[in-house]
């Protein structure tokens, strides 16, 4: 079907990644778990994942990774 699923996945994780990173940066005190700013750390991970998905969707178009 005409929708490349990597677009919505990429967009969603980019959005959540930005949100978490931002929240962790602004509210450092409220983002602690075992002495780490886990929101900031994991937000960056999600952001990178989201951007990679978007990159794949933009470049690949019709050739998904393993098909």
């Amino acid at each position: 079907m005409g929708l490349d699923i990597r677009w919505p996945i990429g967009l969603m994780f980019t959005f959540i990644g930005v949100l978490l990173t931002g929240y962790g940066a602004i509210n450092s005190a409220g983002s602690q778990s075992l002495g780490m700013n886990i929101n900031l750390i994991w937000g960056v991970v999600l952001l990178v994942f989201g951007l990679l998905m978007l990159l794949g969707a933009a470049r690949g178009g019709k050739t998904p990774p393993s098909a």
């Binding site: 919505p8 959540i16 949100l19 929240y23 509210n27 886990i38 929101n39 393993s66």
Partner: protein, 652 residues
């Protein structure tokens, strides 16, 4: 135990997820032009998408909640549900069975049975399957609503209806494609949402070695935590195979190697992965034969690694419970606030010199077993220095000697996730339940529309009519799931119940497929009688047997009560797990035996020509020469099997 309040950031993540899954449904709605588009995705989807959907459809309540619960109860041996109970069967499906499902152009697994045998065989399978999907989906939604109620203080009914409503909307809009696409989104959501929780738990415990050391101590004296009633060898929670070699009594699962290898690894596993339309439907939606065959292969890779994500949290929870300084316990079953208030009053008015009566009164007030020693200590502590009601309540909470294992995963999320990450983990949990429900509903609507409604009731209508029926039955399916959710509300470990239902429906069916696909002599009448006998056999088996510690009734052995007879010793299994595995084994053997004998006794009604493409020996072998080596199912499958064996050896 207090409900948590979500921050705006958590709600934003939750809403973003809901918006995206609904958005996918809406975006796909314009492609839904026929019943085939809606119910079978018109065979158009690439491998990596169907592969991840394949695994995600299976990743409902069964995985996250049930496996964490089992991880706590049984330790690493739970991984057998993956390394023994999934990977070999998934590879078998890819290499040997997918060519028949996909090549026959059947629209569903039951439809293959119609082509190979006849309508009655298909009908029997379709009805059993339809019932099972509704049950599985209901159980999953019940677990979700219960957890949302417990953790967030949301109203149970509200949670149930809102979550079902979201699934209904996107499935209704985009059909199977929408379910498959959102399943891929959900797959990543689940992995990325839970990975940090597992990481934080492992870090808190002090790493893998610290955890296993703690679990060795727990295994030798699980009574101290009221985790089990007898002690085991130190490696009972931390070795996959060694505790099983010692037989029923040597492991907390209460099973032996035969039950695991034959009952789980062969009967239940192949019955589920190779014949369950819920998962096979994903592979059938693939765009070509190679993509279809590679679907279970792609799925097997994450499946093999999932124990780290779903079983490890349960083991961490046990280790944390055993470490007093971590201020954690696996939550007790939910107890009404009034009962706690009553128990607090009993503790306050108790005489420390004679606490036995008070301990009993506390247990009665809560309606649960309590740890007598700890309650006695609590009474003494309160007598020495007056404690606040909240402190006493917390003390009582800590002393309840029963566990609600299904809430393990939630309690860890609550412990480690600050606002933000909490929203993410919660959304992941929501995603897993929704993918489970959507998977069941999309399988249910296809089987109903094509295999029951069209085949038996209203055969010759236009496609528009079946398209309409597909949508209508989607609504009905969700309604039935909700009804089943209310029905499931009374059970503690959802996993055991699902296994039981699988036992009834799935266990015999693999024998039918095995004969159908690989022996051309198998006749329709034999297949029908075998399947029917298998289901009847499992029902009788369940009616006669029970696991130690259970009361005759829904857990089995009710026939003895009806007859007014004690349950004989020979009908009592050491655990529910053992009962389930043996039930499945019994059902399989009945189906196998009946099909074999009756096939030899009856004459064939289908010619070799009619069975071409449906039976192994009469179908030209697929030649993979034009496919690159790394995309050949047999090659990649073998590599994965070897990897799986290595995992078993590492955690031996």
């Amino acid at each position: 135990m207090q409900p948590i309040h979500l921050a705006w950031v958590d709600y934003t993540i939750l809403l973003a997820y809901v918006a995206f899954v609904l958005g996918i449904g809406w975006a796909l709605a314009r492609y839904m032009k026929s019943s085939a588009d809606f119910l079978t995705s018109a065979r158009s989807i690439p491998t990596w998408v169907t592969g991840l959907a394949f695994i995600s459809a299976n990743l409902g309540a069964l995985e996250l909640v049930g496996m964490a619960a089992s991880g706590a109860k049984y330790g690493i041996a739970t991984a057998h549900f993956y390394w023994v109970g999934a990977i070999p069967a998934m590879i078998f499906l890819a290499v040997f069975m997918m060519p028949f499902y996909y090549g026959s152009k059947a629209r569903s697994v039951p439809e293959y049975l119609q082509m190979r045998f006849n309508k009655p065989v298909m009908g029997l399978n379709a009805i059993g399957f339809a019932i099972m999907t509704v049950f599985a989906s209901g159980i999953s939604m019940n677990a979700l609503a219960k957890l949302l109620n417990q953790l967030l203080g949301w109203n149970y009914h509200f949670a149930l209806f809102v979550c079902s409503g979201v699934v209904l909307l996107y499935v209704l809009k985009g059909g199977l494609t929408s379910a498959i696409y959102t399943e891929v989104l959900q797959f990543f959501m689940i992995v990325l949402g839970f990975a940090p929780v597992v990481y934080l738990g492992l870090k808190d415990v002090g790493g893998w070695t610290a955890m296993t050391t703690k679990l060795h101590a727990v295994a030798q004296n699980p009574m101290a935590l009221d985790l089990n009633t007898k002690s085991f060898a130190p490696d009972a929670w931390t070795s996959a195979w060694k505790p099983l070699l010692g037989g029923y009594d040597a492991n907390p699962m209460g099973v032996n190697v035969f039950a695991i290898v034959f009952g789980l690894g062969f009967v239940l596993s192949f019955g589920y992965w190779c014949t369950n339309f819920l998962v096979v439907q994903r592979a059938m939606a693939a765009k070509n034969m190679t993509a279809a065959r590679n679907t279970p292969i792609v799925a097997a890779i994450p499946k093999m690694l999932f124990p780290a994500l779903v079983i490890l949290p349960g083991m961490l929870a046990v280790a944390l419970t055993a470490m007093p300084d971590k201020n954690y316990r696996i939550p007790p079953p939910i107890i009404a606030p009034e009962a706690y208030t009553q128990a607090v009053d009993i503790v306050k008015s108790a005489n420390p010199a004679d606490s036995a009566a008070a301990v009993k009164a506390v247990a009665d007030a809560l309606g649960k077993k309590v740890n007598a020693g700890k309650i006695t200590a609590l009474i003494a502590a309160n007598a020495a220095t007056k404690m606040s009601d909240d402190q006493i309540k917390q003390g009582i909470y800590n002393d309840v000697a029963e566990y609600d294992y299904d809430s393990v995963i939630f309690s860890l999320v609550k412990k480690y996730c600050p606002a933000g990450l909490l929203g993410l983990a919660l959304t992941a949990l929501l995603a897993s339940f929704m993918s489970g429900m959507a998977g069941n509903v999309t399988a249910f609507n296809t089987v109903w529309t094509y295999n029951l409604y069209q085949a038996f009731f209203v055969p010759d209508k236009s496609d528009a009519h079946y398209f309409w029926m597909g949508k209508f039955i989607t609504v009905v399916g969700i309604g039935l799931s909700i009804a089943c959710a209310y029905f499931a509300r009374q059970y503690n470990n959802a996993m055991d119940i699902i296994q039981l239902v699988f036992g009834f429906v799935n266990a015999p069916v693999f024998a039918t497929f095995l004969f159908g696909m690989f022996w051309k002599r198998t006749t329709s009448i034999a297949a029908f009688c075998g399947l029917f006998g298998g289901i009847a056999g499992s029902t009788v088996f369940h009616a006669l047997t029970i696991a130690t510690g259970n009361v005759p009734g829904v857990k089995g052995a009710y026939l003895w009560s009806i007859l007014g007879h004690e349950v004989p010793k020979s009908c009592i299994f050491p655990s529910e797990m053992a009962q389930n595995f043996w039930l499945a084994t019994f059902a399989f053997c009945v189906c196998f035996g009946l099909t074999l004998v009756l096939s030899l006794a009856t004459s064939r009604t289908k010619t070799d020509e009619q069975l071409k493409g449906l039976v192994y020996s009469l179908t030209p072998k697929i030649v993979d020469h034009n496919v690159p080596v790394w995309q050949r199912p047999a090659v990649v499958g073998t590599v994965l099997l070897i990897a799986c064996v290595i995992l078993n050896i590492i955690f031996w």
